[in-house]
């Protein structure tokens, strides 16, 4: 299968601090690819590089068989969408207006929409289940609703690749599943390539075709969830103990973190010391 993204020897540093150290990986067309790693492992930086936001990296990225740098912003916006982390700040644009913004890369300078743009926006609203919110404004929505609106905006771009930065982080259980299901449907029905950064290993294992474990800007492991989610890999990546079991639904691997009081050995990575007396 042809690759959607080919990253080779990616290096990136913020001043003296190295964030990515020679990272290479491929993402296939139509694949659901999830990147997992602890805070500070370089996940968000990687996403910004792939989205064309951060261009101060070394190495090479090819998107759909073309070097990433060869795209203009507009060309890139027609092929690739980003669903950012949920921001607290929200301007009172209506949901309908926000979705039409997703059509911006297909419209003229003033963003005057055509019948076709409106049709695509309405389809995207139905697909993500936000049709009833059309006239509400962003600041009136809950976190879960807003996240679905941003998903719908990404769908409006009609991209070949969608990048998501921890899309389920601030959501309740029902909304988490809903967002993941929507992405899986986009993958299966439209053949969209999904690349997601996530903290939720169990959720990732149930949806991803392949996982990549990232630690300190380097790859720990890459492959199907059954091969990647092992207690050795998780301990190497996160430095904490987990039990790995099997999810009764579909046999996906499932982890259970181990609280400190169940750990016997002295090499416990948690910090020691006594709490002050009250």
């Amino acid at each position: 299968m042809t690759p959607a993204i080919v990253a080779r020897d990616l290096r990136h540093a913020y001043g003296p601090e190295t964030v990515l150290r020679g990272l290479s990986f491929d993402v296939k067309k139509g694949e659901f690819f999830i990147i997992i790693g602890p805070n500070g492992s370089g996940k968000t930086t990687l996403l910004k590089i792939l989205a064309g936001i951060d261009r101060s990296f070394q190495g090479s990225v090819e998107l759909l068989q073309r070097p990433l740098q060869s795209y203009t912003r507009r060309e890139l916006a027609r092929r690739l969408a980003l669903v950012p982390q949920l921001a607290a700040e929200a301007f009172p644009f209506s949901v309908h207006e926000v979705l039409l913004m997703g059509r911006a890369p297909h419209m003229g300078l003033l963003g005057l929409e055509t019948e076709n743009d409106r049709r695509i926006a309405e389809q995207a609203m139905r697909f993500t289940g936000v049709s009833h919110l059309g006239h509400r404004t962003l600041d009136q929505l809950s976190g879960g609703e807003r996240q679905r609106v941003f998903l719908a905006r990404a769908v409006c771009q009609e991209p070949a690749v969608i990048l998501l930065d921890e899309p389920t982080a601030a959501l309740d259980l029902a909304h988490q599943i809903r967002v993941m299901d929507l992405m899986a449907r986009l993958q299966h029905e439209k053949g969209v390539t999904i690349l997601m950064v996530s903290h939720d290993i169990n959720l990732a294992a149930m949806y991803a075709d392949r996982l990549m474990l990232l630690k300190s800007g380097a790859r720990v492991a890459i492959g199907p969830p059954q091969e990647i989610v092992t207690y050795q890999n998780i301990e190497r990546t996160y430095g904490c103990r987990v039990l790995v079991g099997t999810n009764p639904l579909g046999g996906y691997p499932q982890i259970t973190p181990v609280p400190g009081r169940f750990l016997q050995d002295a090499s416990d990575p948690a910090p020691g010391g006594k709490l002050p007396d009250r």
């Binding site: 989205a51 912003r73 916006a77 921001a87 009172p92 207006e97 913004m101 911006a104 019948e115």
Partner: protein, 334 residues
């Protein structure tokens, strides 16, 4: 294709505002210290009474340039405030926030102290002062990561603070009648204008207005966040720089003409945003028309309210604008 909702809204908003502006201009021409009344203005406009040369002169040579200048200044300051509020994503942003006021004031005061004539001498030094501060602020804030909004804001505040000190220093050295000129410039003054200056200003402003309108959809996208705008295809570096330079240029041009007129640029964009929503494709024309209407109206009041002489127009803009804004803010919060 069915009519686009944005264009329909644009027409629905712009036409009443245009009507309001024309009415206010008409009133502005009709009323003043001498020869007031709607009849007089009709007669002057239609040249019914050709023998009444005095009236003709008052309306055409004195009031018309002043009213048109007020319209230009009000439009520019409101639009400038709107752009800076969007670019800096800061509700307190106003046209003078990047140091334009301080820089142009130092320039103007220097010109006055050198004994230059009001036009073109003092206008030129004021304009040079504001352009110099813009260059300085851009230089200060464009380090590794170009045009970070908080750096831009802080650089502007610092430049303004330094200029304020310079202004006080220059004023403390001045004792003769030039002091009066300085104070008038700092309070803003629409009275010293002729049609030539009004036309020159219009020539300078029109391209800036058009440029800002063309970038109004990009401003909408910018409000969704810098990264989102980039991913939606906006070349934010080019858009930000263009808006910044065009806006600073047009504000400097008006400041050079009539000094510092505060508050309009802060309150009109907020007022219109509260009433019309955040879409800049609507707000840009609305700020131009609404700001012009507001300034012409305030100038009219400043001319006719006192029995003798006139009030500084800046007094009126804030006295009416602040309570109006608080009223709308409270209503929108409910």
């Amino acid at each position: 294709m069915s009519p686009r909702p944005v264009l329909r809204r644009l027409a629905l908003v712009s036409l009443p505002l245009l009507l309001a502006l024309l009415t206010t201009i008409f009133l502005g021409l009709g009323f003043g210290v001498t020869g007031s009344g709607l009849r007089a203005i009709w007669e002057a406009l239609l040249a019914l009474d050709v023998s009444n040369v005095v009236q003709q002169t008052i309306v055409w040579r004195i009031r018309l340039p002043r009213v048109l200048l007020a319209a230009e200044v009000g439009a520019t300051l409101s639009l400038g405030g709107l752009v800076f509020q969007a670019l800096l994503r800061n509700p307190l942003a106003e046209p003078y926030i990047l140091g334009i006021s301080g820089g142009s004031a130092v320039g103007a005061i220097s010109g006055i102290l050198l004994g230059l004539p009001r036009f073109p001498g003092v206008s030129a030094t004021a304009f040079a002062g504001s352009m110099a501060t813009l260059a300085l602020v851009l230089m200060l804030s464009s380090g590794r990561q170009i045009l970070k909004k908080d750096t831009l804001l802080l650089a502007g505040v610092m430049v303004n603070a330094f200029c304020s000190a310079m202004i006080l220093f220059l004023i403390s050295l001045t004792q003769d009648s030039r002091l009066h000129n300085i104070i008038f410039w700092l309070m803003g003054d629409l009275s010293l204008s002729d049609m030539g200056q009004v036309q020159l200003l219009a020539l300078l402003l029109a391209p800036c207005f058009i440029l800002v309108f063309l970038l109004s959809h990009a401003m909408n996208l910018l409000l969704m966040g810098k990264e989102t705008a980039m991913v939606l295809g906006v070349n934010i570096k080019a858009v930000t720089l263009t808006l910044l330079v065009a806006t600073s240029f047009m504000i400097s041009a008006t400041v050079a003409q009539c000094g510092l007129l505060g508050f309009v640029g802060l309150v009109i964009p907020h007022l219109l945003r509260l009433m019309l929503g955040p879409d800049h494709r609507i707000l840009v024309p609305a700020c131009i028309l609404g700001g012009a209407t507001y300034m012409v109206g305030c100038d009219l009041l400043a001319r006719i309210v006192p029995r003798h002489g006139e009030l500084p127009v800046g007094v009126i803009t804030a006295m009416i604008g602040a309570p109006l804004f608080i009223f709308l803010l409270r209503r929108s919060g409910k």
